[in-house]
Subunit: 257 residues, 2 copies
């Protein structure tokens, strides 16, 4: 059985659970998690996205949902459901649905100023008390660090696999290495590495520039983890659809795993 | 008296304590804290830099110090002392000293996989058991989030002021806003905002590009905090000296505060 310590769980009918992690903040975990979940939903899969970062929830901003009253049914939280095609430059796509849950829907703009035990309690609720129904994939967007949230998650649910996100910068590689060692210790299987903000293509002269000196391939040398794909700096004005970059190649290799 | 709940503290002879914060990860807190501490030391001040992020310590990487055995004297931790001129493109500068302390010196490459109460215990030690001696400025580099580290810091020492760091990106502005609200709640005075990675100058054609859509000036409108300065994307190959950008203008306005 997948979940530990909870009799009834909203995860009961979820087939595969992926975590998107890094240990380092600001490398693009939330952005990549949202891209991956959207792409899998575009392809017709039943997908949910759980943003479990209570200190810095990003899903409401990424999906332009801000403060949203969540519905409760039989003491369980019902995730929000968004239709994706409205967001994308490819209007020909059939409207696919994506289920979303985030602490941002509960907090609004307010900060969560709280200590570890309270964080763990909220994380447990976020894991078991959301009624996802039948899902093929649940993507969990993790916060930075290897503290209460990661430990509570590891103790309440068995993850199928995790994606480690890094930029090419040395400060990121150092922290993501710590994250990889922590996941090995907690026995959470890792699919590989996504290198994000790998290069920037100048809008004026079209030349590719490396903004962050090193390369995430160093993680492959040190830990033997595959570099699954490299995402460029994407144009923020395009919103989540980021259509010039269609990560279907990226989610396809994940889905095949 | 500045510190709460500790009879003997290594902060006893520290004149001014600045925190460099944001709530959002990856916006440049560690980079800006290291730049600010270095600049103040270049100007001849007695300066210390305390990296209090136990999950993602960056000071060892920024100062190329990796794993370092820390000396103890009379049960107090002695900070490392580095000479700065060696790092800088401006060789004419008199060798100034900077004192450094980071959990990274204790952890090496290992992750800190631990829950809130243990984090708080380490943070308390990091605040009171480091023997800084006489300092004009202590810069404290904070982790992301508004959890145990921030709360333990706020309860053990009275900070003189905090700098809030943000990139122009919407995901950063949303979290930094949460940070500002938390600092207001914890009654920690804020000097203003530093906008980091504000623009990128193409090495090929020299045109400035905005990589992250919005602007940190939105924080001034909402919270009335001054935008103290805007830092561009700096060239990673230049190391910490980043000499094309001499933040002395930036630290001067701080020092005058
Ligand atoms: N590929 C990308 N191109 C451009 N900006 C990006 C990209 N990935 C992330 N960002 C931006 O970088 C910042 C960090 O991304 P985010 O997803 O919040 O990271 P994390 O979840 O690791 O903190 C955000 O401001 C986001 O908009
Ligand atoms: N002005 C800058 N120009 C270029 N890269 C930067 C700049 N500021 C920060 N970085 C890079 O961005 C990443 C995040 O910076 P860091 O100082 O680690 O932020 P934080 O302490 O907020 O997590 C690091 O990889 C760092 O090298
Ligand atoms: Zn160019």
């Amino acid at each position: 059985k997948r979940f530990i310590g909870a009799d009834k769980s909203g995860l009961a009918d979820v087939k595969t659970i992926f975590a998107v992690a890094s240990c380092k903040g600001g490398v693009g975990k939330s952005t990549v998690a949202a891209l991956l979940a959207s792409q899998l939903a575009y392809q017709g899969h039943k997908v949910g996205l759980l943003d479990i970062d209570i200190f810095g929830p990003s899903v409401p901003t990424l999906f332009k949902l801000k403060y949203n009253a969540l519905a409760m049914q039989k003491n369980m939280i019902m995730p929000l459901e968004v239709s994706l095609a409205a967001n994308s430059a490819e209007k020909n796509l059939v409207k696919q649905k994506l289920k979303l849950m985030s602490f941002g829907f509960l907090l609004g703009d307010a900060p969560a100023v709280m200590r570890g035990p309270m964080v763990s309690n909220y994380v447990q609720q976020g894991i078991h008390r959301v009624d996802w129904g039948l899902l093929e994939y649940l993507i969990i967007d993790l916060p930075p660090g290897t503290g209460d949230t990661l430990l509570s998650l590891g103790q309440s649910v068995q993850l199928d696999a995790a994606l480690m996100i890094s930029t090419p910068a040395e400060l990121s590689l150092v922290d993501v290495s710590r994250g990889i060692i922590a996941f090995e210790k907690l026995k959470i299987p890792m699919l590989g590495i996504v290198e994000n903000m790998a290069f920037f293509t100048c809008c004026n002269c079209g030349k590719d520039q490396q903004l962050f000196g090193k390369s995430a391939a160093l993680l492959k040398e040190r830990f033997g983890l595959d570099l699954l794909c490299r995402l460029p700096f994407l144009d923020p004005s395009k919103g989540l659809s980021f259509s010039p970059f269609h990560p279907s190649a990226f989610s396809k290799s994940l889905v095949e795993n």
